[in-house]
Symmetry: D2
Subunit: 171 residues, 4 copies
């Protein structure tokens, strides 16, 4: 059949996740560090997008978090490399969660922006990528964090900074 020649055929992947509102409901009652540790240890479900893009939690401490990503074909853009948006998702996770790790229970955050720089392309040949997010400045109303993606040879592939707005959670 010609159908086998139609572009788009061929590769298949199945991913699973759980109700994201269940884990979101745990946010107000825990400190950010407790919440993220529980997530890393499996006590709270990982957010769906991490399953969708196969982002893995590695470690967290106050003000710093590490994620990993094994580049795969399903991350690719039209020009044969990992899509910049996949790297941006890693970076945004790292900056946002680094900020979250500094917040007490009852304080929420939202990312106002993400300023990303793409320095080297990532491909399936890059090997497992590490993304480290670090809080640079933590005020009472806003916090600023940066994140870096490196390959196994410790070369910098992408960099981002982000400002998060902090606010009291009600309920």
């Amino acid at each position: 059949m010609e159908q086998t020649q139609i572009p788009g055929a061929g590769r298949t992947r199945t991913h699973t996740w759980s109700d994201p509102l269940a884990s979101a409901a745990a946010v107000p009652t825990r400190s950010g560090l407790d919440f993220l540790r529980a997530m890393g240890e499996g006590g709270i479900a990982l957010p769906p997008v991490m399953s969708t893009l196969a982002i893995e939690p590695v470690e967290v401490e106050e003000g710093r978090i590490v994620f990993a990503l094994q580049p795969a074909e399903f991350h690719y853009n039209p020009i044969g490399t990992v899509h910049g948006g996949v790297l941006a998702t890693l970076l945004d996770s790292a900056t946002g969660c680094a900020v979250h790790s500094t917040l007490p229970a009852g304080t929420g955050y939202t990312s106002l922006d993400l300023s990303t720089r793409f320095l080297r392309p990532a491909t399936v040949a890059s090997g497992r990528l590490t993304c480290t997010g670090t809080v640079v400045s933590r005020g009472t109303r806003t916090a600023m964090a940066e994140a870096r993606i490196t390959d196994p040879r410790d070369r910098l592939l992408a960099h981002a900074t982000s400002t998060c707005l902090l606010f009291p959670l009600t309920g």
Copy 2:
């Protein structure tokens, strides 16, 4: 089985894509507009990440491209909304492809950066999102584009600007 109580169980999704290097190989031989039109019409496979995140091509002309996204649970972050990285992926696709649509055959591009601002959260209740990318400035060595994500009520959810480096493709 205990497995049903483990967070992360429950939701499943399967997505498919085709060899991304096959479509990437078509880049040097076609103008950007021809390439993107063929992609929109199915003659060239969509890039894998668009299937992974369910980003849909809508329309393209020289210097302007539109994508769409129906927010779904598998796009969610830990705090109960569409992950900023998913929006960044939409925006990066729109800025990069808007620039690509202005390039003749034999000219390549790469995104140097993406500066994203998140203005309103997106959720499954937002309805289908539209992301429009537009070229703002097109030089011979670089081009700059912006992109906007709006909801069905035409409210602005996110905004980005990006600079792309242009270069001759060899081979």
Copy 3:
């Protein structure tokens, strides 16, 4: 005298300004639009930096403001063009004041960031530059604005976006 051979000799400029705290004191008691109009009409002193860099107010309405700059030698960087920071100052003035123009008396703002793109160099041959700032999104806790610098032929020289934090002024 050898002094005539020392680099740095030669050009001189004198500029004047008035006590900036006097005008700053007027901020809490007036709406942003009233404050900026009074500044444009001379009832409130222009901020010192505008004199230092010879930035001129042109016009203001709610959510939009225009400044002008005549490029001069004293704006130059080491590589023979107007320093990007001078353009950034114009852009930051335009984004910040565009946001200010939407604020009622008693509401303050501060710029969290400025994301600037330099598209064409400016020189003394460019002619008088126009910088227009426009509010893109106005929330209760933050506002986002963009600004554009154009030359007399309406070519875009620089572009910026900025997010401002809004807060109640006390006293």
Copy 4:
């Protein structure tokens, strides 16, 4: 006379500089590090904008440069602090010159963008500010640098990243 009550009266400053095209002419013939060292030592005139804003060179090595600024009233914005554009000028000088310090004779650069974050206000009470620029990534076609402004207590006031385009200088 009422004129003494008109805002805008009062403060005066005179600054001097030299022909910027003379120093710009030295760019193609020297490595960036040689050029910047000569500038720091007075063999090449400082660029005019540094005199206009009273930015002082402190030290330079390959891939890293330090500037200083003593905040003064003539740097002020309408709301009683050092204008963000003055900080952006410092940051842009630091990122651009850090990149320049890595370039051989015959290679030029231009800043494509500057992504600035303002973390704490600067005032005349802040004391002398230090701005350090560092190259983060240096390719053949582009380079990326970051810069930080700190006060005498080593608190971070502002942060920026920038991408520069590199190109062969002709003539």
